[in-house]
């Protein structure tokens, strides 16, 4: 009796163990387990290059059909996945318990998401994108057409296969190596709200592109989306550092476009291999937090000449401030080196704003004088840089005025007064004595 029970317990333990070990943590921000939802299981083979690149980087992929009734991202209040890839543009509703809300809650609890749409993308996918700040062209049959920077192919075609090379200028997002070849894109375009600072165009369309239904004639009205306003691939970094990639093309992930050669129209350069693989791979590294993730630790401050952190400063104290900032390299934390980290000494507005100097080993430090104002101050480090997770640290510290016995006791400028006072006292004393006793 006891043995099977024990075995059952052990089995339970074993099944929980990987969950415990590999769950997303502050110390290891890189994702582990990824749920991939597909329209059709054939995508698994037609997009195998993309999946295998993920697998080779250590991700644990779980493929499901988008309408599989067994889909669940959450069990007992815990998320079972760290990332979600939606390669299911035409799914009207997910199977199982997952819905738009579920996907957004997944993101809002700090998990990452890749969404690929396509011509005739479903409302579901459009809604998810819209909630993340990306508006796909509302015309369901419209695709991005570009008559000047299309990819040259054997047949003339309708110029919907675009060779795009307007990448976001960020080494953090796209890696150090420059992407030489244009990226082949075939799908729908979207626009971003310029006021939205969290969403970025990772790949923009050329000025000559526009979004329309290629089979219909152009009407006299200009298309609703055109030019560089069209974004082909966008990335979002939410406030909680969850990252989202939204692409208007499912095909750009496919093996076919990964391998295809590319020649941009009007350009003589012909590339053996399109930039798709490099672009998608680098971008997915960023999305899944293999790059651009910062952490700040050991925020310290102390008076100059002391090592202990005081509970309160006095006005005009000299203090030293230091913080350590590390960057996740995909496997370990390495020092983050930058010259633009600043600290504020803040009470409703920054009284002191200083750029921190670094020793190259992650330690940033500076020293300054507490302003001549008392109140409850904060040390604030607000570090927001393109591609990196934002650092927002604050530490409250009161600053008190002088005590009554901390003022200067005798001031030089007042010596005439002291002199006057004491000479007057002496004179008065002598005068009284003379007046009273010398009749």
């Amino acid at each position: 009796m006891a043995a099977p029970k024990f075995a059952f317990l052990l089995l339970n333990l074993i099944s929980i163990l990987p969950l415990l070990v590999s769950s997303f943590s502050v110390d290891r921000p890189t994702d582990r387990r990824i749920l991939v939802l597909l329209d059709d299981l054939s995508l698994k083979s037609s997009h195998s290059l993309f999946f295998s690149s993920l697998k080779s980087r250590g991700f644990d992929l779980d493929f499901k059909l988008a309408d599989d009734p067994a889909i669940a991202v959450k069990r007992y209040g815990q998320y079972m996945y760290d990332g979600l890839i939606l390669l299911s543009p035409s799914t009207e509703r997910f199977g199982g318990s997952l819905d738009v809300e579920g996907v957004l809650d997944f993101v809002d609890s700090g998990h990452d998401l890749i969404v690929a749409a396509d011509a005739n993308a479903s409302d579901l996918i459009r809604n998810i994108a819209a909630e993340c700040g990306v508006d796909f062209d509302e015309d369901p049959s419209a695709v991005v057409v570009d008559h000047s920077s299309y990819a040259v192919s054997e047949t003339e075609g309708d110029h919907t296969l675009i060779a795009a090379d307007d990448f976001i200028q960020s080494d953090v997002i796209l890696g150090n190596k420059k992407i030489e070849a244009p990226v082949l894109f075939k799908g729908i375009g979207h626009s971003l709200n310029p006021a939205n600072s969290m969403v970025l165009k990772a790949l923009s369309a050329s000025p000559s592109s526009y979004s329309t239904n290629p089979s219909s004639k152009l009407s006299s009205q200009p298309p609703s989306l055109y030019g560089t306003a069209i974004s082909l691939v966008s990335v979002v970094q939410a406030r909680n550092a969850a990252r989202i990639m939204i692409s208007g093309s499912l095909d750009m992930f496919s093996n076919r476009l990964f391998r295809a050669g590319v020649q941009k129209s009007g350009s003589l350069n012909k590339y053996e291999k399109s930039g798709n693989e490099q672009f998608i791979t680098e971008l997915s590294k960023w999305i899944f937090h293999e790059r651009g993730h910062l952490k700040a630790v050991n925020l310290r401050h102390n008076k100059v000449g002391e090592s202990e952190e005081p509970s309160m400063y006095r006005i005009n104290d000299d203090l030293e401030f230091s913080v350590e900032i590390f960057e996740w390299s995909g496997s370990s934390w390495v020092p983050h080196v930058s010259k633009d980290v600043q600290v504020q000494f803040y009470m409703m507005s920054p009284y002191v704003l200083k750029t921190l100097s670094t020793n190259g080993k992650g330690l940033y430090h500076t020293s300054f004088k507490v302003p001549d104002v008392y109140g409850v101050f904060q040390f604030k480090v607000e570090y927001q840089k393109l591609g990196y997770t934002s650092l927002s640290l604050s530490k409250q510290i009161p600053v008190r005025p002088f005590k009554h016995n901390e003022y200067e006791r005798f001031i030089t400028t007042a010596f005439p007064y002291y002199g006057a006072s004491f000479s007057m006292m002496a004179g008065f004393f002598i005068f009284s004595g003379v007046y009273l006793y010398n009749k």
């Binding site: 459009r126 993340c132 904060q378 006057a420 006072s421 007057m424």
Partner: protein, 816 residues
């Protein structure tokens, strides 16, 4: 032989009178104490209202026994985040030092009382002392009989009770005693010319300075009196002795205030010492004493004082200027007068005349020159020399008209006529009689009393709060009036018919239920051996003998009735009107007594459910309570020294949700607390105070305009209200989900249906609402994790999720 016998019997009666008056005083003290205990009996032994909570906290946290800690304590996070507050520099230490010392003495006597108990009972104890001081003061003015009557009247005057019931742990609790006692010592010095009393006077004045911003009243009144005496030719060395040391004390305080350096103060005073020689040595003591004493009061020494308290900011601006001005002028004048008298004594009459003409002519020339320069200066300045301060000097209502933060406090409004009747009752009718009595004969002391009542009537007309200064004056005057009246009547009765006297006594015995009456009987006895005023008595006798005996008896009876009426009113006021701690409210309705303990419920919720570092924003009225009871940091509190900060909160409350969220977020606020009376009809809620928030906010941030919140000049919250009003944060936080209580959103305070009933909050979420909805606490939502796109197809997500959370905290209307 016969003379010896009479003198013996006189001594005996004198002794008997003393014992009796001591017993009566003791009883008056007991009454003054016990009449203030209604609040403890009816409610519980708690600290009342708002400011006392701060005082209590200062007493409790700092246990202010060590001076250095007190002067330097910088209460940091807990008070008015993020600006902080220096306690030593912004608080009058008198009250907390007194209560702390009391606690310490009691503990050293092995009477283990909690600090709170001591704080609760400080005010009643000191009102007993104040009665004693009143007795002493009135005795100096008009004799012991008047003193006892005045003491009895003061012991139960409603105006004073309103500020000194058990639990009302505020500055006024000890300050009124200090005020009367300072006046007593001044009069005593004036009457005796004793330096001993002058020294005591300086110390008493110092205690007053420690205790209350009202000290400016003393320091304006005394120079005025001195001036009056000089003008009416009553200058005497006694006046000089009474005034000069006190004035030096004041001058030293002023000097300190200006220079911040005690050395400078000492030197400048030393220079003024040369004028008088004989009192010189004593005055060196006084200067040193005054300087040291003044330097010990950080709140006066530092500039913060003049803006730290409401009172100070109101009267302070005017008084500050007046004080230094009147004092220095009077100080100079008294020295000139002293010099003139001195020279007069030395020179022969002819020489003196010549000297006077010489000095006067030279003085006139100098005066004209100075006047010309002054006129030129005033004319050249663009504002013609009229600053806000000078205006507030000329027009005492200036501050309350143009500085909304002062005007927003109800106790800074001018009083209404009924409030006079409520607060001093029959004394209002007796005061004129007392003033007349003071003129028969007019002495230095009685002229002071007249001056005191006249000025305090003026100030009480400016703002309700100063009724408190009027009350002792009214008591003294009424005491004098009653005592004189009883004297006269009794004399008359005795003179008319000796047999009637015994009857009268019997009658007195019967109706002896009032203490005041007893004291009046006392005064009658005392008065017989009062040899000081035989002429007065004979005068009275001559004049009053024309009245028939019956009229006198009826008059006595009516006076007793008047006194009885006063007692009944005072007890009612103490029991019903002034004993509510205003933190627990009660209401009586047909189905019994309702207790509203919502404030403590809300504060307890805050202290149990929020993080220690969380900041709570509310209108400043609730700042001290939140700090003391919920132990959370507040943004603004009842110490209204930073108008801009309060205006920021007022602006946030009057802004739409998004703008308000931005303001609160910039101040690191986590929770917003609003007080809402619409459900149970609690009238002093935030909606009724809201216009002040708009005014105060608009005073600093001009984009908030009062007319935007008024429909045709009317403040309303019904369907006629302006869109600005219906969309401001205060409206939304007050009436959020209000319609769910009765289905139509009927506000019981404004007696109307609210204008906008169904709305959602996007940047705030309701986290707690008390049982009677009197306090509602909202939390600022954190900024959105993502920013949504423009496409409207997606259905709103936040709406559904918050409503599911909300259903848990949904409240039922308790009245249904």
């Amino acid at each position: 032989m016969a003379t010896q016998e009479t003198s013996q019997s006189a001594t005996f009666r004198h002794a008997f009178g003393n014992v009796l008056s001591f017993a009566v005083l003791l009883l008056i003290g007991v009454m003054a104490f016990s009449i203030r205990l209604f609040s403890v009996i009816k409610y519980e032994s708690v600290i009342h209202e708002f400011d006392p909570y701060f005082n209590y906290r200062v007493t409790q946290v700092r246990l202010v026994f060590v001076y250095g800690i007190f002067a330097n304590s910088f209460l940091r996070d807990q008070f008015v985040y993020p600006l902080g507050r220096v306690i030593g520099g912004t608080v009058y230490p008198g009250l907390t030092l007194t209560a702390g010392t009391l606690w310490r003495i009691l503990n050293s006597m092995n009477i283990p009382l909690s600090v709170e108990t001591v704080c609760v009972f400080t005010a009643p104890v000191f009102s007993a002392f104040a009665s004693l001081a009143t007795y002493l003061l009135t005795k100096e003015i008009k004799g012991a009989g008047a003193g006892l009557t005045a003491a009895a009247l003061l012991a139960m005057v409603p105006s004073y009770i309103s500020r000194s019931v058990a639990g009302s742990y505020d500055n006024e609790a000890v300050a009124i005693f200090a005020l009367i006692f300072t006046f007593y010592l001044y009069i005593k010095t004036l009457n005796t010319g004793s330096l001993f009393y002058a020294t005591l006077n300086a110390i008493a004045y110092f205690y007053m300075v420690c205790s209350w911003g009202g000290y400016t009243f003393i320091i304006n009144l005394i120079p005025m009196h001195v001036l009056l005496c000089i003008v009416t030719g009553r200058y005497s060395p006694r006046l000089y002795i009474a005034y000069a040391p006190l004035s030096l004390n004041v001058v030293s305080i002023r000097m300190l205030n200006i220079t911040f350096r005690r050395e400078k103060a000492a030197s400048s005073q030393a220079s003024s010492l040369i004028s008088e020689v004989k009192l010189g040595i004593v005055r060196v003591v006084m200067v040193v004493l005054g300087t040291l004493l003044a330097a010990l009061v950080p709140v006066v020494g530092f500039n913060a004082v003049m803006t730290s308290e409401h009172f100070a900011s109101f009267l302070g601006h005017a008084a500050n200027l007046q004080m230094s001005f009147s004092n220095s002028v009077v100080f100079i004048i008294i020295h000139v007068v002293a010099l003139v008298y001195y020279i007069k004594g030395i020179l022969s009459p002819q020489m003196f005349k010549v000297a006077v003409t010489l000095v006067v002519s030279v003085g006139m020339v100098v005066c004209f020159a100075v006047l010309a320069v002054l006129i030129a200066l005033v004319a050249s300045s663009p504002t013609k020399g009229w600053s806000g301060r000078s205006l507030s000097l000329l027009d005492p209502t200036y501050a309350s008209k143009y500085i909304p933060i002062i005007a927003s406090v109800s106790e800074h409004q001018p009083p209404t006529w009924p409030s006079y009747f409520m607060d001093i009752n029959v004394l209002a009718f007796l005061v004129p009689a007392g003033i007349i009595a003071c003129f028969f004969p007019l002495s230095d002391a009685s002229s002071f009393a007249v001056l005191y009542i006249v000025t305090s009537v003026y100030f009480s007309g400016v703002m309700v709060r100063l009724m408190l200064v009027l009350a002792p004056a009214a008591c003294i005057m009424s005491g004098i009036a009653l005592s004189e009246a009883f004297d006269a009547e009794n004399f008359l009765i005795k003179a008319g018919d000796t047999t009637k006297v015994t009857q009268n006594d019997v009658k007195h015995e019967k109706s002896e239920d009032t203490i005041k009456e007893r004291s009046s009987r006392k005064s009658k006895k005392k008065d017989k051996e009062n040899i000081e005023r035989p002429s007065l008595v004979s005068q009275v006798e001559k004049r009053l003998l024309v009245l028939p005996l019956e009229t006198s008896v009826i008059a006595v009876f009516l006076l007793v009735l008047l006194g009885a009426f006063y007692v009944v009113h005072c007890v009612w006021a103490a029991a019903e009107a002034y004993s509510a701690p205003s933190i627990v409210l009660t209401s009586r309705s047909h189905d019994g007594l309702h207790v509203f303990d919502d404030f403590r419920e809300a504060y307890a919720w805050l202290s149990h459910n929020t993080e220690v570092d969380d900041k709570v924003a509310s209108w400043w009225d609730y700042g001290y309570q939140t700090t003391a009871m919920a132990n959370r940091t507040v943004i603004v509190d009842n110490n209204t020294w930073n108008n801009t900060h309060i205006a920021t909160v007022g602006t946030a409350m009057s802004s739409p949700e998004k703008a308000a969220w931005d303001i609160f977020n910039s101040l690191d606020v986590k929770y917003v607390l609003v007080v809402f009376g619409g459900l149970v009809g609690y009238p002093s809620d935030d909606i009724n105070k809201f216009l002040w928030m708009v005014r105060i906010g608009g005073g600093v941030f001009p984009h908030i305009k009062e007319p935007d919140y008024l429909r045709d000049g009317q403040y309303r919250i019904d369907s006629q209200a302006t869109p600005t009003m219906l969309n401001c944060l205060m409206y939304k936080l007050s009436y959020f989900r209000f319609v769910e209580t009765d289905g139509r959103g009927f506000d019981r305070v404004r007696n109307t249906e609210i204008g906008k009933k169904h709305f959602k909050l996007t940047h705030f979420e309701e986290v707690f609402t008390t049982h009677h909805w009197m306090v509602r606490i909202y939390k600022l939502k954190s900024p959105r994790n993502r920013i949504r796109g423009k496409t409207k197809k997606s259905k709103s997500k936040s709406g559904t999720s918050t409503s599911s959370k909300r259903s848990g905290t949904r409240k039922k209307n308790p009245w249904q």
